[in-house]
């Protein structure tokens, strides 16, 4: 009984304290716009680059932001919890890169009902709720990679793809963008294999080695994200094979491979731009200004010749 009474007393005291504290702080909360940005990841260098762009816009427009994302891109429920916590903070607007659009709909609806504009970024959200989407056109970007591949192998021969996965929007878009361009425009090029390594460097290395073993005449491989591309470089190096390697995104290892000539070049998105445009659009939407339905944040081809130019160097990250 003593135990229970103590607990009840503690509970009562706690609630009382909490209530008074809440009131006191509510009065002094600032007028600065607050925009939580919820991404698909956090530790990955790509997301850190997105964060730096968001931070830049926050400083420029004088708003406060937070940047969060789950540990892995499979943790859909963790991302939903982050969105719920963000909504509880009564933000001015929200930046959101959905891991799974459907799972987020109840909370997005809640945001809409509370008149909090939602800005989708990276791969977008399949819903009418976001006022705009700031993202890379992955299909067009991968098609550019296909053109470069065709050019570098002389328009004919066998090639392969190492893709991060067949479920995510980026995985599907890059695979299809590349494959469709090859089949439509380059009839003499044959794609002999398309395999998935989860974006894991080691797994992608093993996949690359098996593709190279099985196809002695292979001329080139496209690695569809950072981890895949590094895996392709490692696999070719371990087997001592000279092929045309085209990568995607940047990162210290990939940049080094391009400098060393092991990798022919890569497509870079503009992660800094994605972060920047997301926060900028959030500020505009919160002020009631009109924003375009989609914001193409752009992409670039880079290789040894142009990677040190200021325009390219600005969008590459380590």
């Amino acid at each position: 009984m003593i135990t229970r009474r103590n607990v009840l007393a503690a509970l009562a005291a706690g609630t009382l304290l909490a209530a008074t504290g809440g009131i006191a702080l509510a009065q002094e909360s600032g007028q600065k716009m607050y925009i939580p940005v919820i991404s698909k990841g956090f530790q990955h260098q790509f997301w850190q680059a997105v964060k730096s762009g968001a931070d830049k816009a926050a400083a420029e427009f004088g708003v406060e932001i937070t940047f969060e994302g789950p540990d892995t891109e499979s943790q859909v429920d963790r991302q939903i919890d982050m969105l719920a916590a963000a909504l509880a903070k009564q933000p001015t607007a929200i930046g959101f890169a959905a891991l799974d659009s459907q799972a987020a709909i109840p909370l997005l609806q809640q945001a809409k009902d509370a008149n909090i504009p939602v800005i989708a970024f990276d791969s977008g959200v399949d819903s009418d709720i976001p006022v705009t989407t700031a993202a890379t056109d992955n299909v067009a970007a991968a098609a550019l990679a296909a053109d470069k591949m065709a050019e570098l192998i002389g328009g004919k021969g066998q090639i392969a793809l190492v893709v991060h996965d067949q479920t995510s929007r980026t995985g599907v878009d890059r695979r299809d963008g590349f494959t469709n361009r090859i089949t439509e425009k380059y009839p003499e090029i044959e794609i002999v294999s398309t395999q998935y390594g989860g974006g894991d460097q080691l797994q992608s290395t093993e996949i690359t080695k098996s593709i190279l073993q099985a196809n002695p005449d292979l001329k080139g491989i496209f690695g569809a994200n950072e981890g895949s591309a590094i895996g392709v470089v490692n696999g070719a190096r371990e087997l001592g094979r000279q092929i045309v390697i085209i990568g995607y995104d940047s990162g210290a290892q990939q940049k080094q491979a391009i400098k060393d000539g092991v990798m022919a070049g890569a497509i870079t998105q503009n992660p800094v731009g994605i972060g920047y445009e997301t926060v900028k659009a959030a500020v505009q939407a919160a002020k009631g200004e009109s924003v375009p339905k989609t914001i193409d944040t752009g992409f670039f081809w880079y290789d040894k010749s142009n990677m040190d130019s200021p325009e390219i160097a600005a969008v590459l990250y380590d």
């Binding site: 909490a18 809440g22 919890d81």
Partner: protein, 338 residues
């Protein structure tokens, strides 16, 4: 538990249970006090913390981990460990997806299939541990990977959506309480967590299965020597835990309106953290469901509160880790004094 080691086998089980009940009350108080301190602290620090919608969000976020932690508690009390709870949850969700979406079966069949899949996996784990004598850590590590792989195979590596089963999202997202009392829109997922915890609590305290769960963790050899079929009870505990993971599978897939096959690994560690914070001993023989529930709430409150305070994410994990160590350390201190 050294005091019970020397006692005759016949009294080992009730003795352990009585002692566990005693220290459980103290640990519950301690854990509850920490929870209160956290809630008060966050409420003082941010006006947005103690809002009805945020409290409901915290409870909702606790539901899946809480149910998994209840399953893990049962196993840990026997002196075992279950690393497969996270991927088993996913496996059960995928089974529900296949039965409901791919086969078009009615909702109750899907629910039963998910629960049966969980129990069946529990039978496998239990048998591998009890009959093949594979240590629980290894056996359930193997099961964790097997279930992860099977979830990907069965689902074809794609999320399975429940759009064809209206009402599926109500399992976790609807609010039975809210329809009865409109001012309290408590999500069903939270209600289910409380029900699961209540049932597990009653099983542990009032049934023979519960008594043997504690006895196995206190002194398995003594129980065996007194002529009890230890293997059978052990398998029963893992089966029950598996079935509870099936409930978690239903909750998470209902919440996401989809069975996400790649999710689940890593969730076992959060469940075990909740169990440990709640005062259940990893060496077995001691633990409570109420403690686990509080442990799970502490993790959610901490995660949510740090987010509300806009603490940088890299520091959030540092704080959470420190709290786990602190919680177990204070528990050790208290036990040394007893």
């Amino acid at each position: 538990m050294s005091s019970t080691t020397g006692t005759p086998a016949g009294t080992a089980a009730p003795g352990a249970a009585a002692k566990a009940r005693f220290s459980g009350a103290q640990q519950r108080l301690l854990a509850f006090a920490s929870l209160i301190v956290l809630v008060v602290g966050f409420s003082l620090a941010s006006p947005n913390f103690l809002q009805t919608s945020n409290i409901l969000a915290i409870l909702q976020a606790t539901s899946v981990n809480g149910v998994l932690a209840v399953a893990a508690t049962l196993v840990i009390i026997t002196g075992g460990i279950d690393l497969s709870v996270g991927t088993l949850m996913t496996f059960c969700a995928v089974i529900a997806g296949v039965v409901l979406t791919n086969w078009g079966m009615p909702l109750p069949v899907g629910i039963l299939a998910a629960l049966a899949a969980g129990a069946a996996s529990g039978v496998c784990s239990g048998t591998i541990i009890a009959k093949l004598k594979v240590p629980p850590f290894i056996a359930t590590l193997g099961m964790m990977l097997i279930l992860k792989g099977l979830s990907l195979v069965i689902s074809g590596t794609r999320p399975i959506y429940f759009n064809a089963t209206p009402g599926y999202t109500d399992i976790a997202q609807g609010s039975l309480v809210g329809t009865l009392i409109p001012s309290v829109p408590l999500p069903n997922g939270v209600l289910i967590l409380f029900l699961v915890a209540l049932v597990a609590h009653i099983i542990l305290r009032k049934t023979i299965l519960g008594r043997f769960t504690f006895a196995l963790g206190s002194n398995e050899e003594a129980v065996r020597l007194s002529g009890v079929n230890v293997d059978r009870w052990k398998i029963a505990v893992y089966t029950l835990a598996g079935g509870i993971c099936g409930v978690a599978g239903l909750l998470i897939s209902s919440r996401l309106n989809s069975a996400q096959p790649a999710l689940g690994q890593g969730y076992e560690l959060d469940a075990i953290a909740a169990v440990v914070i709640g005062g259940t001993s990893l060496s077995g023989g001691r633990g409570t469901i109420v403690g686990t529930l509080i442990g799970a709430l502490i993790i959610s409150v901490l995660t949510n509160g740090l987010r509300i305070l806009s603490v940088a994410q890299e520091w959030q994990t540092v704080v959470t880790g420190s709290i786990i160590i602190l919680a177990v350390y204070t528990d050790m201190l208290r036990r040394r004094k007893v």
